[in-house]
Amino acid sequence: MPVLWASALVVVGAGLAWGLLFSPPDWQQGETVRIMYVHVPMAWLAMGGYTGLAVLSVMSLIWRHPLADLTARELSPVGAAATALCLATGSLWGKPMWGTWWVWDARLTSVLVLFFLWLGHAALVRAFDDPDRGAKAGAILALVGIVNVPIVKFSVDWWNTLHQPASVTRLDSPGMHVDILYPLLTCATGFSLLFGAVVLARTRAAVMERRVRALQLARARREDAPA
């Protein structure tokens, strides 16, 4: 864990310094393009994290794996935060470039739906007195919501949108100069490590919390027994 935290912080710091200070501006967007170094990693984490949530939900529903339930429960608030950051930075980027904070085009709307799915999952798994029933309901919600992930990804190709198509995650070579691409990939790696570290730390805390509760329960039973 300390190794993960340290490498996450080092890579995020290096990526942000590279992106914000030492990379060139864009020929048409100027310095505003630097919002991308936060916006794009958050968008990838929002989608990648949700795919991870769906995998955990499959494990939970089919193999009834208790650790999958616990990880899913701790993952969704972090995923919601990444999606919120993606929406907020996108809005800050849209105003100077497109001329608007928000439009209801297919990409922006589907990412907003993704945000509500994250929030809905986080709320639903905590809404039951019996944690197992909450985990099951959350897993079903997460799997229903997975149809939204390809919609987010391909919305810019399937429909006319204000948002431009993908620059990096496409089949032909990236539509981005390497001097902009490499700091972006560094930031994406760093934020992914950070995301993983936060989720792992939360899951470990949840496991320990469970263990403490089980021990307390066992002690209470022992003290009750002789009486």
């Binding site: 501006p25 048409q28 497109w98 429909w159 431009q164 620059s167 070579s173 902009i180």
Partner: protein
């Protein structure tokens, strides 16, 4: 073992059903999900004059005329094209910073009886290419690309090009 297999089958079937339902719904609502119509769509479908809609495309090279409107606000007329068809757009107000000939725009407004489009809002739509200004200058100087004529040349021809170290290299 069999219970796990049964759960897996149920999950796969439910996923298949859900995916099909989503695909059908999205296909059915195809026309409602598009954010804007291209000039070819508009000319083919005869949009009625009393409904506002969005028209999008590239600003045709050499078509932009800027003037000051009767109320003292800046105004402009330009043609929006998708390569096949073009529609004349008039707009009064401040254009976005990214607005230029060859740039993508999305305009909201109504069709006038003379076939031109009266816009109340103009948004800029930039493409998915990102390059440092020096590389863009080099492409322009060498004649490989004129931004007013449209999209940049294929990315693999420039995205590993070394960045010339003269002029404005603040960064």
């Amino acid at each position: 073992m069999t219970r796990k297999k049964r759960r897996l089958m149920v999950l796969l079937l439910a996923g298949l059903g859900l995916g099909t339902a989503t695909a059908l719904t999205l296909t059915a609502f195809q026309d409602n999900i598009v954010f804007f119509f291209s000039p070819s769509d508009v000319l083919a479908n005869r949009h009625s004059a009393d409904r506002a809609f969005r028209l999008g495309g590239l600003v045709e090279a050499g078509s932009v005329e800027r003037r000051t409107g009767s109320d003292g606000r800046p105004a402009a007329t330009f043609r929006v094209t998708d390569g096949a068809q073009a529609i004349t757009v008039s707009y009064s107000g401040v254009l976005p910073d990214l607005f230029r000939e060859g740039q993508g725009v999305v305009t909201l407004g109504r069709l006038l009886p003379d076939g031109s489009f009266r816009a109340t809002e103009v948004l800029a739509r930039h493409d998915e290419t990102y390059m440092p200004p020096e590389v863009a200058d080099a492409l322009r100087r060498s004649g490989h690309w004129n931004p007013e004529q449209g999209a940049a040349p294929p990315a693999e021809t420039w995205n590993t090009a070394p960045r010339p170290r003269e002029g404005r290299s603040g960064g």
